[in-house]
Amino acid sequence: MDELLKLLQTNALESRENLGKLLNLPVAEVNQRIAEYEKRGVIRGYQAVLNEDQLNLDKVTAVIEVKVTPSREGGFNNIAERISRFPEVRSAYLMSGTYDLLLFVEGDNLRQVATFVSERLSPLDGVLSTSTHFMLKTYKRLGVLMHQDSTDERLSISP
């Protein structure tokens, strides 16, 4: 992967000047490459990685395994794209194995998620069955540890 993308994935707020310095590139080229990635849709957005457990939000996240029937034209894409459009669905993946789709669904409370599953998701044509698991605690998200203390154990000067 382009090193520029790796750096943006680590810290999208890094200034363009610093990105240029780190990669030994002129700033103009950094700007141009980022603009191209955005235009091509490789970069879809920039988000903060939150430790939501610290915010005491009234919110639950469920991981839902869904078995579906692929349609004759379009395979899994039709049903998967349809399900992905619900705003409650934060992430959706096609999986190999005993089920087909894996969804990350957010709601204000357990009841809201249950309603989504029973009234929105399950009745859809093509959805055969669902299995819902609620998330209890986040230890790591998007490659970022949520409980890391940043002490440096090293001696302050060493040869």
């Binding site: 090193e3 790796k6 750096l7 610093n18 310095k21 780190l22 990669l23 030994n24 440096d152 090293r154 001696l155 302050s156 000067i157 060493s158 040869p159």
Partner: protein, 391 residues
Amino acid sequence: MNGSPSLRNRLNTVVRDIPRSGIRDFFDIVTTMKDVISLGIGEPDFDTPWHVREATVFALERGATHYSSNLGYLELRKALAKYVSKNFGAEYNPESEVLVTVGVSEALDLALRALINPGDEVLYHEPCYVSYRATILFANGVPLAVETKAENGFRLTRAMLEAKCTPKTKVLMLNFPNNPTGAIMSRQDLEDIAAFARERDLIVITDEIYAELTYDAPHTSIVSLPGLRDRTIFLHGFSKAWAMTGFRLGYACGPAELIEAMMKIHQYTMLCASSLAQKAAIEALTRPDIDVGEMVSEYRRRRNYIASAFAEMGLECHRPLGAFYAFPSVAKFKLPAKEFAMRFLHEERVAVVPGTAFGDCGEGFVRCAYATSLDNIKEAMLRLRRFIGKL
């Protein structure tokens, strides 16, 4: 040091007369201060790769808590021989030509003690790692320092060695990529030096602890050049490329006669390297390219950043090509390196190491390690710019 003069008089005179490392004095001051950003740390800021740590815990649970053979676990020596063959181009028999040691520091001490008779001369280049001169003296050798210069990119050339070499010179010590300058050797210079070593019948000790950390060109080891394998002791370890400094694990590869002699000292003084650290090293070698590659990319970006920051503030600095050190010149401020470092520490709370810690010819330079987070480097560069603006 205080204490009774009568005890001091009973010390071994070589030990007594060697000054303590210039780094230690500085360290003592830094540790009394708070909120210091340190560019003075000669070890990676990365943690040891998790799979290596996890394997160490597993080894502990399984009871790998006993002595290993003096040379080290054969499984590790086999893995090392394979690694050295693949990456450095020299073949060693794991049964008799590989010795696992407590860091490269021990291996260097063993090599010198195994080779040196009192009065034998050892050629080495300065600025260099803080221990070289002392280790030669402890082995009753005579240190012959060759000065490398910033204006040549801290190159070491055959001509420079020829100017110092005498019939009493027995050993040539090399350390590239270099601590503290970040210099590496060009293939041509290395070939000339190899020819020189053959002609003068020198034993070469090459400390290649930073070999994996090069940024613009791959590292070439002198041991891969014709005729050198049989007159070279190759030293390497896990501290830098795998961020395993505290494991204290190094190794030496060389002709069986030399390894046997080193092993004799090792078995009577150290017995064996830590068995747990050896198990960790076996794990580290299972997927070296992945772990090391990611760290190298990160160091390269920091190197780029620090080099362009120096250029922007008009500080002359040889472009570091390896290791994780930059060695800018501060001579134009007309301050001794130690005073520059001391004032920078007190006025801006940033620690750098005065070049004189690495030999007298380090005067006029400071070593800045970029083995620290980019945020720290950015802040340190802001403070450096402010500091030199006041000078």
